[in-house]
């Protein structure tokens, strides 16, 4: 499926279930998303993470509403818990079926997002492994001088920002020297098309969701 269309569909569904309190719709969404995820044949650890991490906030919400709130409304507790799973599973269908590069290209070509946003963010995302090691370096070098930098130490963020400034300068230079010019029309190396099936899936899914939301509790 087209990455942009898929992302928009997931966002629309997530927004809609945030404002409607329907258990069946949430469960249907969880099952569909789970089938999509299973078909991707991911590593078993990813499945475990997807299964157990949402359990904590889901259980917290359910227990608070079921045991500690005036109405002891277990039905609403189930709605909220299932909604947490729906969010996470739907969100995961986007991140596991597409890569940042594909999504950036699709957003530029299909969603007409300005190229500087698409590729600017992509450039930053591609630096993720280096940002992880940069933070480790900052912490280690402080520790060598007997200073422990915590997540609430301004110095840690300050040094990270200096790093971000330097990298953004270097990345801009690199991109411009490869011929990237802001706000100029660009040719496309790998066209990403929106097919009829994308439209059908999006429209069909949204219609089905409305029907389920109205018909079932």
């Amino acid at each position: 499926m087209n990455p942009s269309w898929q992302l928009f569909l997931v966002l629309i569904i997530s927004l809609e279930i945030s404002f409607t309190h329907r258990l069946i719709a949430n469960l249907v969404l969880i099952v569909i998303a789970a089938i999509i995820l299973i078909l991707q044949r991911l590593h078993w650890r990813t499945y475990l993470r997807l299964l157990f991490l949402p359990a904590i906030p889901a259980a917290a919400l359910a227990v608070t509403i079921g045991c500690f709130s005036p109405g002891h409304d277990w039905w609403f507790a189930a709605v909220l818990a299932s909604r947490v799973y729906a969010y996470v599973f739907l969100g995961a269908t986007v991140t596991v079926t597409t890569t940042p590069l594909k999504l950036a290209r699709s957003l530029e070509q299909n969603a007409h997002l300005s190229a500087k946003y698409a590729y600017g963010v992509l450039a930053a995302v591609n630096l993720t492994p280096r940002t992880i090691s940069a933070i480790k370096t900052i912490r280690a070098s402080a520790r060598m001088r007997g200073i422990e930098l915590h997540f609430y130490s301004p110095t840690l963020y300050f040094k990270a920002i200096l790093q971000a400034l330097r990298w953004s300068d270097q990345l801009v230079l690199a991109m411009e020297s490869h011929g990237f010019v802001e706000n100029q029309s660009r040719t496309v190396a790998e066209p990403i098309l929106v097919s009829v099936s994308d439209w059908l899936i999006v429209v069909g899914a949204i219609i089905c969701l409305q029907v389920i939301l109205i018909a079932f509790p």
């Binding site: 997530s14 500690f68 920002i161």
Partner: protein, 187 residues
Amino acid sequence: MQSKRGFHLRDIIFLALIGILFGVIYYGGDFIYNALTVALTPLGYGPMANDLTMGLWCMAGPLAGFLLKRPGAAFIGEFLGASGEMFLGGQWGAANLISGFVQGIATELGFTFTAYRIYNKFTVVVETLTTTLVTFGWDWFRNGYDHFKPSTIIILLIVRLLSVFLFSGVLVKLISNLVNRTHLIKN
């Protein structure tokens, strides 16, 4: 999204990088969040973990506002940070984008109300208030806060206010003071 002066490629990369760097720093935040949730649930305050850590999640936005000092910076900083974190492997996936959008508007409003002219302690207070209220309003729907006991709701609101004030307010201001002293960012 475009302001009068617009954002250039350099700003966009910088804001997205800040979001990701911060995401890495409080990657442990997910762990703290989960541990707090487990600890607080038996007391009936499980959702408080969300309010306790809210200030951390919202840091990128106000920081971008204080550093770049122009309309849209806070929103774009927060939203790009969330987009970056989407692929960082946090537990929320694409749902990050919606939270990022809401938090972006929440933090941006603080700078809108001070007309993008004042960047002092007063801005910290205004921005803390808008961030707290808007994100709380969002959780009202998303996390079913309307079903909680009134006393619980008030405690959660106060906890969130303190968290946002300490992290997205005071800590962000301290960081931006450090950065501004270097004169590396020209406004």
